[in-house]
């Protein structure tokens, strides 16, 4: 994993809403998913996570603890690794525009 550097949004001093938008710069292959909130929900998605169902550990250090193409196997693996404190989502492919 590459070295991470935390960079605050330019507008972070202007309003609380802008302050919530924070990005973490990573090595070029990594992508970040950020859910701006009181605590900030940011973690790293590696290229192999893309297009897969992923499990994210809860707590202060959020990271992908399991991933795969079958929901049940991802949940089973995540349960073993996290004592049940995790959440589930689909990690989109990079550059894919989702439409219907």
């Amino acid at each position: 994993m590459g070295k991470r550097a935390v960079t605050k949004n330019k507008n972070s001093r202007k309003s609380p809403k802008a302050r919530q938008l924070v990005e973490i710069s990573l090595r070029p292959d990594d992508i970040t998913m950020t859910t701006p909130d009181k605590k900030l929900y940011t973690f790293v998605l590696k290229p192999e996570h893309r297009g897969k169902i992923i499990a994210i550990a809860n707590g202060s250090k959020k990271k992908v603890i399991a991933f795969g193409t079958h929901y049940n196997s991802v949940v089973a693996k995540a349960k073993k690794l996290s004592n049940g404190a995790f959440s589930i989502m689909f990690a989109p492919e990079k550059g894919v525009i989702y439409t219907r």
């Binding site: 938008l21 970040t32 998913m33 701006p36 909130d37 169902i53 959440s87 589930i88």
Partner: protein
């Protein structure tokens, strides 16, 4: 309630409206999933989840009604069954007044979690793209 100024989720610097939810078996609410981040998609008629979600919460799809699903990212047969969907705040606390029991389409081998019009139709959905927030309020 229910949901005011819920921030978009940013992936690859693309912001999308997504909502944390928990899916449970309406016949046994103790059988429920971990928090799931679902895409708010008013263009989807029926909310769609992988069929494994039904297995996890003890919903038997053997005799469930089948429906064809067509979309850019989702193609195949879905099995429709009642499921209880709770909306969660970003910290995964329950948002009161935003729980719905609806017919969900469970897709074999599906990967996406889509919250469709069947869930959203009880609310006024406001998507504020410039400020990257959305709200679900009662009419």
């Amino acid at each position: 309630m229910p949901i005011h100024d819920y921030h978009f989720t940013v992936v690859d610097r693309i912001s999308r409206p997504k909502l944390w939810i928990r899916v449970s078996n309406p016949k046994d609410r103790n059988k429920r999933t971990q928090p799931i981040l679902a895409k708010v998609d008013p263009g989807t008629d029926v909310s769609l989840f992988p069929s494994d979600v039904a297995d996890e919460i003890g919903i038997d799809l053997t005799d469930a009604k089948e429906a064809n699903v067509t979309g850019v990212m989702t193609k195949g047969n879905a099995r429709l069954s009642r499921a209880r969907i709770e909306a969660l705040d970003v910290d995964h606390s329950l948002i009161t007044g935003a729980t719905q029991t609806i017919d969900v389409g469970f897709i074999e081998g599906g990967l996406l979690f889509l919250l469709g019009a069947d869930f959203l139709k009880s609310f006024v959905l406001t998507i504020d793209y410039p400020n990257e927030v959305f709200s679900l309020t009662r009419p």
